[in-house]
């Protein structure tokens, strides 16, 4: 019998990288511990990582605060995320299907024009967009944040690649059965692109959930604030309630982390798929 060799090298590597990973997350641990302290104890040294008397009520205040309850802020953000994704995925799917499966005049020109628009930063178009939304009466309206997300070149590009991978025979068979293009897309192809839709959806969710500049310039009414502005509300406050600042930050971050842990596979695949553009 041979003794199994102890994999020292692997263990050492794991320990070193483990320490590094732990240090990497230290800012978030500090945030959590500060969010559970009284305002005067937040900056105490030595750092008390697990506070002696834990202030759960900080979170109760954040979530039920009269001026800026996080329940409302969350509802607004979920509303924005839902309709952003719905529009973005539907329109991108349709465009991707046309580019990958249909033959039409001007295909390359339209595609190149869309692709070139990747170089146009939203920040460069924000002033005319602001004027447009103001004229349309969408200022201080959540749709001003939702509408621009309905066009996303990366999503179109990623879905197009996916449609390319699906067989063309499906189209011919459906045509013989007398199905129109819209039904071929919706009933035959769309269900097959689910993995790509999930991946694109996750990326879209991260970016709408964390968006800051559009809400900052479009939303003035506190009732319409999204999560980013909800956190900012506690920053503006001059009451030096640092514990509340951290509780607000944690209230935005922790649910996202739980979501990532629960769906790690999809998050990872989503990002990896977006990177595969060869």
């Amino acid at each position: 019998m041979k003794l199994k060799k102890i994999p020292y090298k692997t263990i050492i590597k794991t320990v070193i990288l483990g320490i590094f990973a732990f240090l990497f997350l230290l800012p978030l641990f500090w945030m959590l511990s500060a969010s559970l302290k009284t305002p005067v104890n937040v900056l105490d040294y030595p750092i008390e990582w697990i506070p002696k008397d834990i202030q759960w009520k900080n979170y109760a205040r954040i979530w039920t605060n009269e001026q800026m309850p996080f329940t409302r802020v969350y509802m607004n953000s979920l509303f924005v995320a839902f309709f952003s994704l719905l529009g973005q995925l539907a329109f991108a799917s349709m465009a991707a299907f046309a580019f990958a499966k249909l033959d039409f005049k001007g295909k390359n020109i339209v595609f190149m024009a869309l692709l070139a628009s990747m170089m146009i930063p939203t920040e460069s178009t924000i002033i005319p967009c602001f004027m447009l939304f103001k004229t349309l009466g969408l200022y201080n309206h959540l749709s001003a944040i939702i509408l621009p997300t309905w066009f996303n070149v990366s999503t179109i590009f990623m879905l197009r690649q996916f449609y390319y991978g699906l067989p063309n025979d499906l189209m011919e068979a459906a045509k013989i059965d007398g199905a129109g293009f819209f039904r071929i897309w919706g009933q035959v192809y769309l269900p097959l692109t689910k993995p790509a839709l999930v991946s694109a959806g996750i990326l879209g969710f991260i970016s709408t959930w964390n968006a800051y500049l559009p809400p900052l310039i479009y939303l003035v009414d506190k009732k319409k604030y999204t999560i980013s502005l909800g956190i900012r509300f506690w920053l503006v406050d001059d009451a030096r309630e640092y514990n509340m600042m951290m509780a607000a930050a944690a209230s935005a971050i922790v649910p996202m982390i739980i979501l990532v842990i629960a769906c790690q596979k999809y998050f990872v695949e989503g990002i990896a798929m977006a990177g595969m553009k060869e």
Binding site: P7, G18, I126, V260
Partner: protein
Amino acid sequence: MKSRIKENIAAYCFLLPTIIIFLSLVLIPLLSSFVLSFTKWNFISGLKGIKFVGFDNFVKLSKDAYFISAIKNTLIYTITTVPIIIAVALGLAYILNGKIYFKKTMRLAFFIPYVCSAVAVSVVFKMLFREDGPINMVLQNVFQVENLPRWFSDGSINKIPIILFVIWTSIGYGLIIYMAALQNISSSIYEAADIDGATGWKKFIKITVPLISPTTFYLLVVRLIAVFKIFTSINVMTYSQITKYNTSVVSRIVEEAFTHYNFGYASAESFILFIIIMIITIFNFIGQKKWVHY
């Protein structure tokens, strides 16, 4: 013949929503922003207040110390963060793809900052780097530093918290993309190198780095553009402490447009941003041929 026409019509129906939004919220705004950049216009004065001033805005911008330092700062943010992000992400991905325990847990740990709300994390960094914050406390008590750095008000160092923020939040993204790409490298190449007696480091430099170069290129473009548009972290962290030393191009645009309502001037700034991003992208695609191995 008839079916061809039908297909053309169908295709444009599918593209219609995309084209409408592209035209109304991207292309026409970009052109308008170009036109506006030749005007002097305070939004509050209404449409009647628009005045054509030719190249005045651009002449003014070339002498605007604030804008020039915003461009300089933005370049510094880009140059200091992107190479580190790419190098660390590749290194971590290489190690995590090898023999190691708790692979998924560690990948998750490095990935978490990427999905966190940028505003929330900026608030945390703002606290960590306070003059009486935990980082300075550790510097004082553990490392016996006497003159504690004033991270946000000292012009020579107030880019550091922002740089660290960018690196910290971006590594996870690069890591995931590199790990996926590394899995696509055939193990037979490494086995052949083993037979030739190549060491770990040599294998990394001679095999991994060249084979992974398309991914590095992709990350480089994506990260350069992202950092060049840096705004959220600066806006939140330097709340009421924004200075010539840490402001960025987008911060300038937003302040000029939505604090002072100088839409003409801000449009000129935003058009310069567009030109810079376009140059970065085109330059990268030209340079790509020189060092990317497909």
